[in-house]
């Protein structure tokens, strides 16, 4: 399942990482190298084996429905790059 540069471009887009066109091919080589090594997993017979969902055997705990958090506007915005009037802001999104 070798990656071509189009796939690398698509993956980079999905991951929202800018990759210059010139970097696509070397990146594809690098990723193919790793994926090729990973594919030794094909040797393992996993027929009928359940995928692991959790390494610890325990049941999901549930939280009581209580309001005990929030009201932290200052803390929430403290590290924001460009807050305004209590909001985070980003370049305008066109719908």
């Amino acid at each position: 399942m070798a990656l071509d540069t189009d796939t690398v471009r698509r993956i980079a887009r999905l991951a929202r990482i800018h990759v210059d066109d010139g970097e696509l091919a070397p990146l594809a080589d690098e990723l193919n190298n790793i994926l090729g090594w990973i594919e030794q997993l094909d040797e393992v017979d996993t027929e009928g084996v359940a995928p692991m969902t959790s390494v610890v055997e325990m049941v999901q705990r549930l939280r009581a429905d209580e309001v005990n958090d929030g009201d932290l506007q200052e803390d929430v915005l403290a590290n924001a790059p460009d807050p305004a009037d209590g909001f985070f802001t980003v370049p305008k999104v066109v719908e």
Binding site: M1, L3, T7, V8, I11, A12, R13, L14, A15, R16, I17, H18, V19, L27, E30, L31, N33, I34, L35, W37, I38, E39, Q40, L41, D42, E43, V44, T46, V49, A50, P51, M52, T53, S54, V55, V56, E57, M58, Q60, R61, R63, L72, D75, V76, A78, N79, A80, P81, D82, F88, V90, P91, K92, V93, V94
Partner: protein, 490 residues
């Protein structure tokens, strides 16, 4: 009396209790050692004012007879993956430039509650992705050890990773102990490279709340310290049930230090055949045999065991960990904190921010993780890896029928020079070949410094115990430590 910074945590605690010195004096000793060891680049943020204030508070408690326990007044370094309130917390990444959390991770809060003193934040591989501490935005940390011969002689060596700053700081006596996190070996491997003890508890022992996530199903905090006893003392304070982490385990907390009885008579020690891998250097094999002999001499029964899927743990790890990371790191988008590089529009802003903010290895893993989760590949990669993971866990489950603890080497080599293996990701990944299987199964494991390589660099032996078997782990590690009598210093 030796220098205050040479004391173990247990010894320092003793001295504080006896009034031989104050926490402030101990802290000052570390702060001045830190100033002398800047070249190691171990710390990314030093907090001397906070350290002094915490030390003074500790002294005040002790004066009232209200010391909080064995960690009260002990100066520690904190891996930069832990969020610490009001102190730069970056995970070694450019993308968290300037990030000062308004909250304190549960593990570090537990330490402060136990009276420990914060010296600062220590360096690490970016987002804990690495085995050499060379991917940090803040530059590599240098291993305080130097090779006496061989190819690496005269060169700066890596401290291992990702908790490289932690391991280097403890080995260089610029912290009495340090927190680390271990996803595939990130505590144990740098522990081995730096000649100290590195311990990863059972998944769920330490809360992940406030620890910057790399791979959620694998990440686990643990201590790096100079002795097994110190590790036990630190874990005692770090661990505990936390309702804020859904994967935190509500299990009784044993007295870990009390488990160090020195008595392993009748203990069954498993030696897995599959860890004898082609290409492992003879000195590693020899040290492993030495460890087997030490434990046998101490009265343990040595049992040959099989963990058939050992060699698949690493490739499976390199699916699961990047997959989870690709999702965990999606929040670093330049909107709410950290770096933002404005682009032409929102998408461009995202892409520029993340391209500039993440280093090459992190980008590589995000790409791999994105790919293995993407439509059409999920079953073949991610699901397959999680099935293999079940097999790995089953291997261990079967092994516990015939043994109580497993002994292996920690790493396939000693520390190497900075710059080596940098162009070959897989060669770098292979550093974790012995540590990853326990991570994949969520098991507690420890690396104990056990000897020196031919070039005079430390090597570790690795013990793995069943889930919640920390007491067995510490007990056996204590015996190994006594037998090895490792007293070499960088």
């Amino acid at each position: 009396m030796s220098a205050l910074t040479d004391l173990t945590i247990a010894q320092a605690g003793d001295g504080l209790d006896k009034g031989e010195f104050t926490a402030r004096e101990l802290t000052d000793a570390y702060l001045s050692a830190m100033a002398d060891a800047q070249a190691l680049n171990a710390y990314t943020a030093e907090t001397p004012d906070r350290a002094c204030a915490m030390a003074d508070a500790s002294d005040a408690r002790r004066a009232k007879g209200a010391a909080a326990g064995p960690l009260d007044g002990i100066p520690l370094a904190i891996k930069d993956l832990f969020c610490t309130e009001g102190v730069l917390s970056t995970a070694g990444s450019h993308i968290l430039d300037g990030f000062e959390p308004r909250y304190e991770s549960t593990v570090t809060q537990n330490l402060w509650d136990a009276g420990a003193v914060m010296l600062g934040k220590v360096n690490m591989d970016e987002f804990a992705m690495g085995s050499a501490n060379i991917t940090s935005h803040y530059g590599p940390t240098i291993n305080p050890w130097k090779a006496k011969s061989g190819d690496a002689a005269g060169k700066d060596l890596v401290p291992g990773g990702s908790s490289g700053g932690s391991a280097a700081a403890v080995a260089a006596r610029i912290a009495a102990g340090a927190t680390g996190t271990d996803t595939g070996g990130s505590i144990r491997q740098p522990g081995a490279f730096c000649g100290i003890v590195g311990m990863k508890p059972t998944y769920g022992r330490c809360s992940r709340w406030g620890v910057i996530a790399f791979a959620s199903s694998l990440d686990q905090a643990g201590p790096l310290a100079r002795t097994v006893e110190d590790s036990a003392l630190m874990l005692q304070a770090m661990a505990g049930y936390d309702p804020k982490d859904s994967t935190s385990i509500d299990q009784p907390m044993p007295d870990f230090a009390a488990a160090l009885t020195g008595d392993i008579r009748g203990l069954r020690v498993g030696v897995p055949a599959e860890y004898r891998m082609d290409g492992t250097p003879p000195e590693i094999e020899a040290l492993w045999q030495q460890g087997i002999d030490w434990l046998r001499d101490a009265g343990a029964a040595i049992v040959d065991i099989s963990l058939p899927h050992t060699k698949y743990a690493l490739p499976a790890y390199y699916i699961v960990a990047p997959a989870e990371a690709s999702s965990n790191l999606a929040r670093y988008d330049g909107v709410r904190y950290g770096l933002r590089v404005e682009g032409e529009d929102l998408t461009d802003t995202y892409e520029r921010t993340r391209a500039a903010g993440f280093g090459a290895e992190v980008q590589r893993r995000i790409m791999i993780g994105t790919y293995v989760l993407s439509a059409g590949y999920y079953d073949a990669y991610y699901l397959k890896a999680q099935r293999v993971r079940t097999r790995i866990a089953d291997d261990f489950r079967n092994a516990w029928d015939s043994c109580d603890v497993i002994l292996t080497p920690t790493t396939p080599s000693a520390a190497f020079a900075i710059g080596e293996k940098m162009d070959d990701p897989i060669a770098m990944y292979l550093n974790d070949i012995f540590t990853v299987p326990a991570s994949m199964a969520g098991l507690p494991a420890i690396s104990v410094p056990a000897g020196l390589s031919g070039d005079g660099l430390p090597l570790g032996l690795h013990l793995i115990a069943p889930a919640f078997g920390e007491e067995t782990l510490f007990r056996t590690a204590g015996v190994l430590e006594d037998a090895a009598a490792f007293d070499a210093r960088p």
